[in-house]
Amino acid sequence: MTAPLPAAAGFAGTVRRAWRLPSVKLSIAVLAVVAVVAVLGAHLAPYDPLAQDAAQRLRGPSGAHWLGTDYLGRDVLSRLLAGTGTSVLSAAEAVAVGLVLGVVPGLASVFAGRAAEWAAMRVIDALLTLPFIVFVIAVVGIVDNGPHQAMAALGLLLAPVFFRVTRTTTLGYARAQYVEAAELAGASGGRILRVHILPKVVPTVAVTAAGAAGTALLAVSSLSFLGIGVAPPAPTWGGMLAADLGYLAQRPLAPLAPALAITITVGALNALADALRDSMGGHAAVPRPTRRDRRQPAEKEPSRV
């Protein structure tokens, strides 16, 4: 027997509760700015981010170049703005891949039978053992060093997080009384999934996605720092950071700009995810499996939907 479910006010309620927190307001404000810059960065840039001017290279901040110029005389501010879109979209791509590869098998593992559940669990366990950076380097070494290949590899390693969250949440709802009632009333498996399960799973997945986005952005920056993913001269935060480190003698403060962009954005994403999770905490809509359910985890639900 499972606990009764609270109303599906769930996500909206969670957002309302979270919005009362100053950290959420600050995070949203930061992420809104990042989003605007990601979309309009190239247009906001005062100079062409790829335009080289050897006579102006490695200059410090000035009226003409607010954040100075890099080793090829390119305007750092323009590259930072233009690089926002590349960095954020890469992270979003990885999260999207992780979502698809995690959520779908996560749902399937609950409903598709014991063999599928066992196989999915073993694959996820195996993926969890792999370190992000090493795995992505290995993948791009085998296939090709491109941004989409790198993000696909990264997304694959983000999938276990989504898988586990989706599976745990779904497992709870699949045993809820109202789901059993819907089954008895003759609702199809697809309808139960669409109407009774997915809406409850989405808030938890959304919170997970916010946290994963922070992880992905950090990983994307690390990878571009290592020269993996987006190729120069396209600007990325990680790539700018790596290049600036080679010229510390000329411009010791230069790495601060991309480093702060990474830190602030990742911090905002993590703060938002934490606040949303905490706001869900006492009102978590996930009914916990009963002891009987835990003893017989896969006997009932797979054949029903």
């Binding site: 080289q52 050897a54 993996i228 190729a231």
Partner: protein, 517 residues
């Protein structure tokens, strides 16, 4: 029972005092270490060299031209190159060619020994040359394929018998090809350990090796030129982050270190000495003229006009070095001054050539590189002006050898040619039909003929330099590689270290002293 407030206060103070004492003690240790470090950190006269460790300590299987610098610390070669690039005695004190140039007899210095105590005699040299020629995984075999046999006449004399006349042998023996390893160290199972346990007759003996980190060496008192070695010990330390070299020198982590060009001013400002030593290294674009669009000679010619070498030198190397359109640096016997203005930067001419080649709207190319920042980005911008739309394809640095030198499936790749002791050997690498840096592998017949002429010309013959330069001219004009600029070795050193010898072929430490504090 809970402690009373006074007890808690005392306990707190006790804990804080203990922690404070520990912090002070650790700080003192740190400060002590720092003081030692700033004093150079060297015990006695041990010199710490910030450089790179070799791919292996076996000269026969060494995979990088750069390895020769560290291998020279533990091995002596049959000959040496002096600061002017002339071949001078090494283990051999003299040599004489037969009239027909088909054999050369070397006479060794007397009393030579390896660091394992065994004698370094003609038999040992013979065993080394034949090993280099015949060992299955030898990477110097191609340089010794002309060696028919090596005969010995007593303990000090050996004759290299050649299939065809070749006057380059003494120069060839100044590098890895001529480094002599104790036969006891490469016979049987011992050979498998040679990559980490070298036994030679060089100025130093390897005592400790931590792969990827450092190698410790001590002075070899039995080295034939030991009077020139004033250092008791030597440490080769891998530079993990070039941006920290100046800090490493200031802290005493290194006494001498190779310096990125952009840190020269910072090193001088920090009170360090900077040596810019001519080297045989020249930056180059490897071009495979069997891959479109470079299979059309007009496109490769356009590429040569599309590159602003001076701008690349100024930006990539901070102006240290010289624009160089050929594989030898200025001052080398093979350097041909007549080629200096051959391909001056002319993007309009490049566009015209592309149009003639059927690309009036420009052409797409891919720059494949393990270090995409810097030169490739600048090159991409220059090529755009000349009608080449270039995409940069980053690869792992370790893939460069496989893709460019072995598989030959890369059309355009920035590279560096580190030079060779024998000029003909160098030309073979960059222009020869089996040359690593001739990915198209199509050497003009006229150049092959010139190679034969050089090989059969004694080095002191006035025609030798002329023929060398003629070969260079053919290679530069007929083959697709684009030569950019020479790059000297740049070292920063502690003021305690005396000036370094200025030998282009290999970094030596003869005569170098370090003041003990």
């Amino acid at each position: 029972m809970p402690a009373s407030p006074p007890h808690r206060i005392r306990t707190t103070f006790t804990v804080l005092a203990t922690v404070a004492a520990a912090v002070i003690a650790l700080g003192a240790c740190g400060a002590s270490g720092k003081t030692t470090g700033s004093a150079g950190g060297s015990g006695g006269s041990t010199l710490k060299w910030g450089w790179t460790l070799p791919t292996t300590w076996d000269p026969v299987t060494s995979r990088a031209g750069n390895d020769v610098n560290v291998l020279s610390l533990v091995y002596s070669a049959i000959t040496r190159l002096d600061e002017q690039g002339n071949v001078v005695p090494g283990l051999a004190r003299s040599w004489t060619y037969a009239e027909d140039g088909k054999s050369v007899t070397f006479t060794l210095r007397p009393g030579l020994t390896f660091t394992d105590g065994t004698k370094l005699d003609a038999q040992a040299v013979r065993a080394n040359i034949l090993r280099g020629r015949d060992q299955r995984d030898s990477l110097i075999a191609s340089q010794l394929h002309n060696v028919k046999d090596v005969t010995t006449e007593g303990p000090l004399k050996f004759t290299v018998v050649l299939k065809d006349a070749d006057y380059q042998v003494p120069a060839l023996f100044a590098g890895k090809t001529g480094m002599i390893v104790s036969p006891k160290a490469f016979g049987g199972d011992a050979g498998k350990r040679l990559d980490t346990r070298p036994v030679g007759a060089g100025p130093f003996v390897l005592t400790r090796l931590v792969p990827g980190s450092y190698a410790s060496l001590r002075r070899n008192p039995s080295y034939y030129d030991a009077a020139q070695i004033h250092l008791d010990g030597f440490e080769v330390k891998e530079i993990t982050e070039p941006a920290t070299v100046v800090a490493g020198l200031q802290s005493g982590q290194y006494d001498v270190a190779t310096l990125p060009p952009n840190q020269v001013d910072a090193a001088k400002a920090a009170g360090l000495k900077v040596d810019v030593i001519p080297s045989l290294t020249v930056r180059v674009l490897d071009v495979n003229n069997t891959i479109p669009p470079f299979d059309d000679p007009r496109v490769t010619e356009a590429l040569k006009y599309a590159v602003d070498r001076k701008a690349l030198l100024e930006t990539s190397n901070f102006g240290i070095g010289e624009v160089d359109l050929q594989p030898f640096p200025k001052g080398h016997p093979g350097y041909d001054p007549a080629l200096e203005n051959l391909y001056t930067y002319d993007p309009q001419k490049a566009r015209r050539l592309l149009a003639e080649a059927g690309h009036p709207d420009g052409v797409n190319v891919v720059i494949t590189t393990g270090t995409p920042e810097g030169l490739p980005e600048q090159l991409q911008a220059q090529l755009k002006t000349a009608g080449f739309t270039a995409t940069i394809k980053p690869i792992a640095p370790a893939q460069h050898t496989q893709l460019v030198y072995v598989q030959h499936n890369v059309a355009l790749a920035p590279d560096s040619f580190v030079g060779r002791e024998s000029p003909l050997q160098a030309l073979g690498v960059v222009f020869g039909p089996e040359g690593l840096m001739n990915p198209g592998r199509n050497t003009p017949k006229a150049l092959l003929k010139k190679f034969d002429e050089i090989r059969t010309t004694p080095l002191d013959d006035p025609k030798y330099v002329k023929r060398l330069r003629e070969a260079v001219a053919i290679g530069v004009k007929e083959l697709p590689n684009v030569w950019l600029f020479s790059t000297p070795r740049i070292f920063a050193r502690s003021p305690r270290v005396s000036e370094l010898p200025r030998v282009a072929a290999v970094q030596r430490f003869d005569g170098v002293r370090i003041d003990a504090r």
